[in-house]
């Protein structure tokens, strides 16, 4: 637990450092300087941190409670859609059709009035509640049925995958009232601040960093608690935990619900930064990718999962830009190699080295972090 704490602390320090350095490098360093951080890179960092939050959510249930959900991208997307609905309402009469109430796509589809589930999304506080509540509610209903009838392991994974696939098909439909194929885009502002302004973006990144740090602390508090110990017991021997008298279903259910709403919040932070949300966010491959971030970083370590998300996505940005042909080969190979040779991920690799050399996991994290930071700064300007 101690070394985990040190690595975790290092991770927190890194997040705080990013939260401070990124705005400074973007706002106060002149564009001519080599240390200037472009807004594009800034947004990219924000995006990676959203993914890191999603990875935390996946790691909390997979790494600690042994629940492999292949539907977390769906919770992520639901949170994103809730935020998107708020942002759509903020556009107001500035849309192409200029309707003060209805978003463009509804005018286009000849809708006469706002459907009931859109009511209230002009208030930010309402959107905030929905962002966490809808994924949580879905997870509650789904998990309640699944855990109660002891759908576990692979079956649970396939069910969650089917769920997210069904949601994707549903959101692709035009008459669902969520913009169909195109989803939501062309956002104008959030809480009255222009979304295209650099300052708004800086604030969004800082908020995301704060959210990431807070989620990390929350997850760590959970896994360090008595309940956390029980999660590990469930992961390693579910029947034994049940026979010891614990209500395994309830524990699994509430950690699943918490994880889902965490994913929803990550999605909500993601949407204003990338500026679009559409049904392809529900695609099953996205959920599986989130799982691979966790596997690469190190399952059951939290900070490793978050760093894994950043690393894999940085690689994705690099490959899709430089060698688009090779990205899927690389990602595929990553899946195979990590499962075959790195069952504990990069953190496991670091821990093995730590045993050999008398260091700590922290320097590894530092090294990884600074590498990403530096190369981001240098490459993505």
């Amino acid at each position: 637990m101690i070394e985990q704490d040190r690595a975790g602390a290092a991770f927190l320090v890194l997040v705080v450092a990013v939260a401070i350095a990124a705005p400074v490098l973007n706002q106060f360093v002149p564009a001519s300087s080599p240390f200037h951080l472009s807004t594009y890179s800034l947004t990219l960092i924000g995006k990676y941190m959203c993914y890191a939050m999603l990875a935390l959510a996946v790691d909390l249930i997979w790494g600690y409670a042994g629940i492999l959900s292949l539907g977390h991208a769906a919770f992520f997307a639901l949170g994103g859609y809730a935020m998107g609905m708020y942002l759509m309402r903020q556009i107001g009469p500035r849309g192409v059709y200029g309707d003060p109430i209805l978003p463009d796509f509804m005018v286009f589809l000849n809708w006469q009035k706002l459907p009931w589930f859109w009511v209230g999304f002009n208030h930010f506080w309402f959107a905030l509640i929905v962002i966490a509540a809808v994924p949580a509610a879905l997870a509650l209903v789904f998990g309640w049925f699944a855990f109660r009838s002891r759908v576990t392991g692979v079956y649970f994974s396939i069910m969650t995958q089917a769920l997210s696939y069904a949601l994707m098909l549903a959101f692709f439909r035009n008459d669902m009232g969520f913009g169909g194929n195109n989803g939501f885009t062309d956002f104008k502002d959030i809480l009255g601040f222009d979304l295209h302004a650099d300052r708004t973006r800086v604030v969004l990144v800082v908020v995301t960093a704060a959210a990431l740090a807070a989620s990390y602390l929350a997850c760590r508090a959970i896994v360090a608690s008595r309940a956390g110990r029980l999660f590990r017991a469930i992961r390693d021997a579910e029947s034994r935990a049940r026979f010891l008298g614990y209500r395994v279903e309830s524990y699994k259910l509430w950690v699943f619900v918490f994880s889902a709403s965490l994913a929803g919040i990550a999605g909500a932070l993601y949407v204003p930064q990338v500026g679009i949300i559409n049904p392809s966010e529900f695609a099953p491959i996205n959920s599986i990718e989130a799982v691979i971030w966790v596997a690469v970083g190190g399952r059951g370590t939290l900070f490793g999962a978050a760093m894994g998300a950043v690393l894999v996505n940085y690689a994705k940005t690099y490959f899709t830009g430089a060698l688009p042909e090779l990205w899927l080969y690389a990602l595929g190979a990553l899946f195979v190699l990590v499962t075959l040779f790195l069952p504990r991920g990069l953190v496991g690799l670091g821990a093995r080295r730590r045993r050999a050399v008398h260091g700590a996991a922290a320097p590894v994290i530092w090294a990884l972090g600074s590498h990403v930071g530096v190369s981001l700064g240098s490459k993505l300007k």
Binding site: L68, F142, F145, A146, R148, S149, R150, V151, G153, V154, Y155, S157, I158, M159, Q161, A162, L163, Y165, A166, L169, A170, F172, R173, P284, I285, I288, V291, I292, A295, E325, L328, Y329, L331, G332, A333, L334, F335, V336, V338, T339, L340, P343
Partner: protein
């Protein structure tokens, strides 16, 4: 038997002659009073010669005269005229049929219109086409159809009946009536009766109309139903289209009966559609039932193995562009080999290190699926490839007026049942199947009995993968062959296996077929996408209630797997 047929033909022949006689008798008084019927071959040549300078109206009279003789040997001349293949040789003003009047030909091959023997060739400059107009062509088509009505081929006769029904007059009615008494083919007879019945509905005699309705009740065609329903409608002045109360009642009953049967056949058709959709599901899932159900490997690359099978079909067609049908048949073993070998390699290099860790196999095989997709993109490009459907797999079978089934759907049902039966045979009746079952039930004991479990694992996985390849061949006939082919089926395949019960092939069959039927039953009400969503959600709920599927495994083996 041969003797019998011969006699039969003879009987038919005499009947035909009777028909022609009848035809001649009917036609003669109408038009041929001024011109006596042609008696011999010389006359035919003479009359044909008149075509050269005749106006369109005269031409029509000439062809009437020619066909009035009732000799079917005139049919080639009529159809040649209809197809712009009747020419005059300018040098001697003789009429010839040309074999082909294709624009690319400079010299045309001639056929004598009476003897139908070859008559050398002539340059295009020496020949003048005998022109036709719409009116004449319409008349020609009707005349040709009359000759076809007594042709030997039932399909030709059916087409002829349909052609005649398009423009009914007193003559053709009589012709049809005569034909219906001698027509041997039930389908053609039915078509004639419908035509006669529809015509009789217009007769002034209400008794005849009642009879016609009684006869038409047996047919299920939409055109008949609409015609009968039309009798019940009110005209603009408030009266009924049909004046007789009894006829109206009979028509209402007939429409009701027809509607009931059409609804019934509609359900039959939906069931058939559902079974065909379900067969596709069975086919894509049955390979997974081996790798996932028997071996417990979460093979996310299953869809990509199907994709390999589909691309194998594409390559086979590229290699044999002139034998599309043979290429498809040969693609079946080829796809089995390609996908099977890929599966064996996969098992030996990756999966065997991950037994007992299902979630890890899921991730690793997903990685493999990404690599295979990208591989196909690199080799064949990201665009979809078109795989052709052989002629014998397209078209429809018309069962009756209300029910027709497409041949390719029938093929897929049969194909998946055959694949299923073979797989069942391999598992239950062969040495390999025995080994597979032994290893899946108790690995340690099987090993102790001397079964090479590693080899059996590789073969089992290869078998499941090979079946996936075969499924790919079938899919290439239905969907786009592209890098994403596998992804669109992988979730369905898993749902079928989980629904049917892991480790149970029969469960996969029943599960796949019932999913297909439910999907098709819902589709008219909910639309394709919503039906699919509904099926997925229903399955999720089903699995919550019965986590082990329709046919759960029982006994000790099931417990050790859990």
């Amino acid at each position: 038997m041969r003797q019998l047929q011969y006699e039969n033909q003879n009987v038919l022949g005499t009947k035909l002659q009777v028909t022609w006689l009848l035809l001649a008798v009917i036609l003669c008084p109408a038009r041929a009073l001024a011109q006596p019927p042609l008696s011999d071959v010389g006359d035919v040549r003479l009359v044909l010669g008149e075509l050269r300078e005749a106006s369109f109206v005269e031409k029509e009279r000439i062809v009437e005269r020619l066909s009035a003789r009732g000799d079917p040997s005139i049919r080639p001349v009529l159809s040649a005229l209809l197809e712009d293949r009747l020419f005059v040789r300018e040098s001697d003003h003789l009429i010839f049929i040309v074999k082909s009047a294709d624009d690319s030909l400079t010299s045309l091959e001639l056929i004598d219109p009476v003897s139908l023997a070859g008559a050398g060739s002539a340059s295009r400059d020496d020949l003048t086409k005998i022109g036709t107009n719409n009116q004449l062509r319409k008349r020609l088509r009707a005349l040709v159809a009359r000759f076809d009505l007594s042709g030997p081929d039932a399909a030709v006769r059916l087409a002829a009946v349909e052609e005649i029904l398009r423009s009914l007059d007193a003559e053709s009615l009589a012709l049809l009536r005569a034909r219906s008494t001698v027509e041997p083919d039930a389908g053609v007879r039915e078509q004639i009766e419908i035509g006669l019945g529809l015509a009789a509905l217009d007769s002034g005699d209400s008794r005849a109309r009642l009879d016609a309705i009684a006869a038409l009740t047996r047919t299920l065609r939409p055109q008949v139903r609409n015609r009968l329903a039309g009798l019940l409608e009110r005209t603009a002045d408030g009266g009924f289209a049909e004046s007789d109360e009894r006829v109206r009642q009979a028509a209402a009953q007939a429409v009701h009966a027809i509607d009931r049967w059409r609804t019934f056949y509609g359900v039959v058709e939906t069931l058939f559609f559902g079974l065909s959709v379900g067969s596709v599901l069975v086919l894509v899932a049955v390979g997974l039932a081996i790798t996932f159900g028997v071996m417990g490997v979460i093979n996310m690359a299953h869809g990509e193995l199907m994709m390999l099978g589909a691309y194998t079909t594409y390559v086979m067609q590229l290699a044999m562009p002139n034998h599309i049908g043979a290429a498809i048949v040969l693609a079946i073993p080829a796809a089995f080999l390609v996908a099977g070998v890929t599966g064996v390699i996969l098992e030996r290099t990756i999966i065997r290190f991950l037994y007992g860790r299902p979630l890890e196999t899921l991730l690793a095989t997903f990685g493999v699926s990404l690599v295979l997709q990208q591989l196909v993109r690199s080799v064949f490009s990201a665009n979809n490839r078109s795989v052709e459907t052989p002629a014998w797999m397209s078209g429809t079978l018309q069962i009756n007026g209300a029910l027709s089934i497409t041949v390719n759907r029938l093929c897929i049902i049969l194909f998946s049942l055959i694949v299923f039966a073979i797989l069942l045979f391999v598992l239950k009746r062969t040495r390999l199947g025995l080994d597979i079952r032994a290893v899946s039930q108790n690995r340690a004991m099987a090993q102790a009995m001397g079964i090479r479990t590693g080899w059996v694992d590789a073969m089992t996985f290869g078998l499941g993968s090979g079946i996936a390849g075969i499924a790919g061949v079938a899919l290439s006939q239905f969907t786009n062959v592209g890098p994403n082919l596998g992804q669109s089926y992988i979730i369905d395949s898993f749902m079928v296996v989980v629904f049917g019960g892991v480790g149970n092939l029969w469960g996969t069959l029943v599960g796949g077929l019932s999913m297909g039927v439910v999907d098709q039953l819902l589709e008219p009400y909910a639309g394709a996408v919503l039906a699919k969503i509904f099926v997925l959600v229903a399955l999720i709920v089903f699995i919550q209630r019965w986590p082990r599927g329709l046919f759960p495994q029982t006994g000790r083996a099931a417990e050790t797997q859990a």
